[in-house]
Symmetry: C2
Subunit: 155 residues, 2 copies
Amino acid sequence: MYIQTKCFYFVFVMKASGSRFSKCLYFSANAFARKVEKLATNSWKKINLTPSHAYLLMTVIEEPGVQPGKLAEEMQLTPSTITRLIEKMEENKLVVRTTEGKVTNVYPTPKANQLYPQMKDCLDEFYTNCISILGAEEMKRTAININKLSDKLSS
Amino acid sequence: MYIQTKCFYFVFVMKASGSRFSKCLYFSANAFARKVEKLATNSWKKINLTPSHAYLLMTVIEEPGVQPGKLAEEMQLTPSTITRLIEKMEENKLVVRTTEGKVTNVYPTPKANQLYPQMKDCLDEFYTNCISILGAEEMKRTAININKLSDKLSS
DNA sequence: GTTTAATGTTTGTATATACAAATAATAATG
DNA sequence: CATTATTATTTGTATATACAAACATTAAAC
């Protein structure tokens, strides 16, 4: 009985809008993330970085020697994903790794440091685009709200 | 000058919370989507479907003969992704495709139809979990809000 | 001090997704 | 009616990401 009620609620909510699943959190969250990703990708394309690589690199530049584990925590990605991102950026001569014992430190190369001002421009462009499409207040409020819910889902 | 102001804004916003990027829309959106995805994945695991496959299959069951293009539109995925999802479900004998001319129709198999009640249970479980963690109102409001922003990003 | 547990990182493997190009079929245009 | 454009779908290829297991190192326990 309880379950059937829920199901009905879901179906009702589903049909309330144009797209079949538009009110379902699974879809909203995913579709939205893909679109924001795309916007970010466009902003970073001119210096040939994906958003993930770009944010990771900015962190490394701002915290030279940062460890993969810390990067994973800050970027909310798994350690293995961080390893993969670093590998690729090592190929592109943007970072170097030094391992001593069980800890690894990641440092930016001179090439990366030179790129830093351009990276900030890309970041600005992304923000400018977001703001022009979503509005500054709306964007800020949404980011904060999503983040709050994100925290709840972590436990 | 304009750009520098923006940049400062970003850095300020970034540092305002625990995680470095927690107020950045790129991260909030992606991290949140990954967490919701995980929750959904757990709910569907017991019948061995990923959330994408499950939602696609539900749509096919509710609209037998639906075309891939329509599925792409409803699920907000690219046609090629839909093709890939269908391929896998054809292997698992959950759907069949018939092609005539340039249109393809996707139908559920008896096996899929039998699974339907269990799928609804999984969906309920997902919703129950979401609600218990996020609260019903908060969840609904967020889904709607994200969806509104999503629409803005589509243009 | 030797064994056991915990920690940090990397691999092996698998996933969903996308873009661009290729097909194939229908519709539009001259 | 022949050519061109549009539409629906599928492939080829590439991506970011994750999980589970493997290492390797340090810390804890007895």
